[in-house]
Symmetry: C2
Subunit: 326 residues, 2 copies
């Protein structure tokens, strides 16, 4: 399945949240490296211990930079926790765990942002420093704060996700600041590139991780105007996410946890990739569907799914061209 060259050096954009999305982003980066721009969710960003923490950006940076802890699923490999232990001894906040190695990123970023560097500048510089071929872009340099409106009241994302382990019942999501957030020139240029070959929506949580990106009006508008195929990989396998609360949140929002719902969630979608387990749902989805093995256990799985995304998008691209010629 040598489809890495499906687009012969044409640019591809991926939208990505944290862990699940980063796995596919890794595969895409390995296949098309320099042609790839990854727009990353920053709705999870928060100020913690006086430091600016960007969990999704860091997951993508560490994953693509070969520094992530593949077993644990978040943070850095060979991590130690002496800062945390010491912080606890001093009476500090320990509910959000920051590893000793990981901490360097937050300290550097906090300093850079205070000094007037933008999050985009910092992120691209770090990606370059770590030898990542793809261009990594935060969705915006403006603060957007994912607020989880729950039966227990509004909760900042990390309080909900890490502090309360996603236990509270979600009623609604709000993206504070999104209405004022400006898409960066870099993000808009990537989405408006005349040669753009495809947009891939990684299998991140659509509600928590992708919607904050779409909440930035200019990004949503740019996506609506994209002529290239926009392909999403469903984060569900047999009605469950591999990791994270996607299915739980869908149930709480009164949505069936299936691929049909995921397809409907993205109005600008050209096609959806679903897992083999959900093969039977394909007929109910009102758009082109590609069935694949979407559970990325090995690095080979990541590469293979990335290749299938590109191949599927290439097929849709030909169909489109055919349509417009007709």
């Amino acid at each position: 399945m040598s489809t890495a060259s499906a687009f012969k050096g044409k640019p591809v954009v991926a939208l990505c949240g944290g862990v699940g999305g980063a796995k596919l982003a890794l595969g895409l980066n390995r296949l098309i490296g320099a042609d790839l721009t990854i727009i990353v969710n920053t709705g999870d960003d928060f100020e913690h211990l006086g430091l600016h923490v960007s969990p999704d950006i860091d997951t993508v940076v560490y994953t693509l930079g070969g520094l992530s802890d593949v077993e644990r699923g978040w943070g850095r490999a060979d991590e130690t926790w002496n800062f945390m232990a010491s912080l606890g001894d001093l009476g500090g906040e320990t509910w959000f765990r920051l590893g000793d190695r990981d901490l360097a990123m937050h300290v550097e970023r906090t300093q850079a942002l205070r000094g007037g560097t933008t999050l985009t500048e910092f992120t691209t510089a770090m990606a370059r420093r770590l030898g990542i071929a793809a261009t990594l872009l935060p969705m915006s340099d403006d603060r957007v704060e994912t607020m989880v409106m729950t039966a227990d009241g509004p909760l900042p994302f990390q309080r909900y996700f890490v502090g309360l382990q996603c236990a509270p019942v979600v009623q609604r999501l709000e993206f504070k600041g999104a209405e004022r957030a400006v898409a960066t020139q870099q993000v808009l240029s990537a989405l408006r590139h005349p040669d753009l070959a495809a947009v891939i929506i990684c299998p991140s949580n659509p509600y928590l991780s992708v919607d904050p990106i779409l909440a930035v009006a200019d990004i949503r508008k740019a996506l609506d105007a994209v002529k290239a195929p926009i392909v999403a990989v469903s984060p569900l396998i047999g009605g469950q996410a591999v990791k994270g609360p996607t299915a739980k949140i869908m149930a709480e929002l009164g949505l069936p946890a299936d691929s049909v719902t995921i397809a409907r969630h993205y109005p600008f979608l050209s096609g959806l990739i679903i897992d083999e387990t959900d093969r039977e749902e394909a007929d109910k989805i009102e758009m082109p569907v590609h069935v694949a093995s979407t559970w990325m256990r090995s690095f080979e799985d990541r590469d293979r799914l990335a290749a299938e995304c590109l191949k599927f998008a290439a097929q849709l691209s030909i169909v489109r061209k055919g349509e417009s010629a007709a």
Copy 2:
């Protein structure tokens, strides 16, 4: 030499810099714990990586809290350096080494100060948290910055001390901000306590570590007004400091590196403790001198020297009372 009870619960104040001074402070804390107030130099404090670092306070806190690395002479025991290693990989500044455990203190302090907590409040809270009986006070809540005026130009203290390993030739010391720095009520109350039994100047570097404290006008005035004996322990043994650049700086400032110079350096001094090695200098010193073994290698050495300080001060106290009765 059971002189711990020389003052029967009366308050004692110590002035202290970093490593050398902290050793004696530890002995004093073990002997008279709750009766001891330690005023610590903050001229070395600096903002590094966006964090407020207070090297001398931390040395005293870690030493008295039983957390210090006795072998290395600074920082915390069982320290790891993964933050530093990772910071270096990201291209961050690594000339000033912050251990993973140590970092917790800087992050907590920076957060506290940004939130409006004073350095005095933070320091006393940490000392309490770590079970330190003595009261630890920064010399001021205002920033005083020790600037080392060298043949190579002016250098902030840590650049000179850590960055350049004290290599540049010192011409003069300046304590930026000292003229505006206010002594805290806690510092002044300790020095003006009606029952104050003694002030001990720890064997810290007089020029780099004690002078910044004395540069705060209210502290200097309060010391001048102290009626209790003020005893200093010379940091020199045979014309050399156990650690640090005291002798080198004295030479560069054109001062003989001997106990006579140390005695003259503190105009308010009642008596000086010198090392046995320097016994012959005793006659040349124009004040009461006590000869002791001042090199604190073991914990017993620290306790013993602390006891000798208190005993010597008690003797001077009796002499003074005798004088005033005469």
